[in-house]
């Protein structure tokens, strides 16, 4: 049952929020041992919240558009009084004194928080194998990763543990796991959803966004969490977009471009490498479906996207090295005692952070250090300008752009853990949107040769989520 029809049934008094939550807790009981989507299942809290929704309905109130719908939250979203680990030992035992704005808005819309989902430590990874609490497995094939870093949220939706989930996307951490688990995943325009209460990784790149089993449910969720928030200085002063109202509008007359540089075909002069043939074929098929629905589809060139990966893996670590300086054993979670404060800081960080986080902190510290700042960080920031300019130029001729979400379908656990650079390549198609601050979403579109889902990425200019969702709805309706 979709989130939207569940909420409608609860609001109409046709079923209780408690029964909805119980049904999902039973689904979690049945398969969670095998999947490990959650760091924390909040069964008691969820039932209490559901009872509150039911009581309000009995009293004639309308709890809101998400009435009684269970939502799973990535464990880097702050929840008051509830463990928020970011998949890290360093935050063990820390309970935030406040809720993230996105969480607050969900609850205000009647949703029920059902648990905190597993993720790569501090959202750094593409497979959810970097969690201090062990990996999450792909519900469609448990020998495969769910993608990452929001792998627990993607897996929770794919396994039917929750109809909706929130993740965060700094370089693809919503869209890539959505593609690998066969769900819809959306990275909104930078500034569309408040980052207040999202534990920071790369502050100029991070964005909270929805996972859902359908485009309509993703629209429902994004409408609920979007819109201006005075507590985030980078929040765009606009109301949340109307998305549900445009889903049926189709793509007639829209101009859609396939990004040549992200297709990796042998006929492309300059393109990223590693795009699998079966993935490319699905994106071409998706383009044909959009053309058949009345869009004009052509190849588009966004030349500097091929430099996105290099620029991102200097900019994001640089921001992370600064953001993660706050985890020093003083204010949050873990402390490893020592005789002096600097020794205590070092002992705590050494014990509390995993290898990938240490790698990125060091890479960022290096890129920002004296003598290397201009060569690495400064240069990457200029490349970021080029990428945004190239997108702007492409959007003079196109309303939307199209590409693969991930280069391949879900890969086996352990496949890339020994080679960080190989793992980073999983984000090659998703990173450019974060650098530009644009919205992009992944829509399931058929399967690869291995029978596992392929995600097609729809990219849009800043604040054009409504147009993006129109194309996503057409792709969903025509998916093989």
């Amino acid at each position: 049952m979709s989130a939207r029809s569940t909420a409608d049934a609860v609001r109409a008094g046709e079923r209780s929020a408690r029964s909805v939550v119980e049904e999902h807790l039973a689904a979690i009981d049945a398969r969670e041992d095998e999947i490990h989507a959650f760091n924390l299942v909040m069964a008691d809290e969820a039932l209490t919240q559901a009872d509150d929704v039911d009581r309000r309905i009995a009293e004639g109130e309308d709890p809101g558009p998400l009435a009684g719908v269970p939502v799973a939250l990535k464990d880097n979203l702050c929840t008051r009084g509830i463990d928020t680990t970011c998949g890290s030992r360093i935050l063990e035992g820390w309970r935030p004194p406040y809720d993230a704005t996105a969480v607050e808005r969900l609850v205000a819309a009647g949703a029920v928080v059902i648990g905190k989902t597993n993720c790569d430590e501090f959202a750094m990874g593409s497979s959810t194998e970097n969690s201090a609490f062990g990996p999450t497995r792909n519900p469609l094939d448990t020998s495969r990763v769910p993608g990452g870093s929001s792998g627990g949220s993607a897996a929770a939706v794919a396994a039917g543990f929750a109809p909706l989930a929130l993740g965060s996307d700094t370089g693809g951490s919503i869209r890539q796991p959505a593609a690998l688990c066969g769900t819809v995943g959306v990275k909104p325009t930078y500034g569309r959803v408040s980052r207040y209460g999202l534990v920071a990784f790369g502050s100029s790149l991070d964005q909270v966004g929805p996972f859902a089993a359908s485009v309509e449910d993703a629209a429902l969720l994004l409408e609920a969490i979007g819109g201006h928030d005075p507590r985030d200085s980078t929040s765009i002063p606009e109301a949340s977009p109307d998305l549900l109202g445009v889903l049926g509008q189709g793509v007639e007359g829209l101009r859609i471009g396939i990004i040549s540089e992200l297709m990796g075909g042998p006929d492309q002069a300059a393109s990223v490498e590693g795009i699998a043939e079966d993935v490319r074929a699905r994106v071409e098929q998706a383009a044909e479906a959009l053309a058949a629905a009345g869009a004009t589809v052509e190849h588009a060139s966004v030349p500097s996207t091929i430099y996105g990966l290099s620029a991102y893996y200097l900019i994001a670590p640089a921001e992370a090295s600064s953001n993660l300086a706050r985890f020093d054993g003083v204010r949050f979670g873990l402390r490893v005692d020592a005789d002096t404060a600097p020794e205590m800081n070092t002992a705590t960080r050494t014990a509390g952070f995993g290898d990938e986080v240490k790698r990125r902190i060091m890479l960022g510290t290096y890129a920002l250090s004296a003598g290397y700042y201009d060569a690495y960080y400064g240069r990457s920031q200029k490349v970021r300008t080029l990428i945004q300019r190239d997108f702007s130029r492409a959007y003079e001729s196109f309303d939307l752009l199209l590409s693969p979400t991930a280069p391949t379908t879900a890969f086996p656990l352990g496949d890339k853990t020994d080679d960080p650079m190989l793992m980073y390549l999983a984000d090659v198609c998703t990173i450019p949107s974060n650098l530009a601050g644009h919205p992009a979403m992944s829509v399931p579109f058929g399967t690869g040769d291995d029978g596992l889902p392929v995600g097609v990425q729809v990219l849009a200019p800043a604040l054009a989520e409504a147009t993006m969702f129109r194309a996503a709805a057409v792709l969903e309706g025509t998916a093989p």
Partner: protein, 105 residues
Amino acid sequence: MPEKPRLNREDVAHVADLARLALTDDELDAFTGQLADVLDHAADLEALDLDGVPPMANPLPLVNVLRLDEPEPGTRADIRAEVLDAAPSVEDGRFRVPPVLGEAP
């Protein structure tokens, strides 16, 4: 861009120290190779002509956002206690840390 090698063991030991991380010898070897791989990949940026291109720190044209320095309505009176409760060590309503300056006791 710096001449080869892009970074060596001593560079990694230095940044680890700046970032307050202690590494074993084995970790130092492994991280040096892995960080060099990332920097090698980033070598593709060297060929770009970036003269006159302004750096971009954020996707939005940011302006300072100001508000009055007053508690928001609804700010909880017990918030200070909750924040302190979440810390590993407190004393007299403050975060407690080992000595920062001078000799350890």
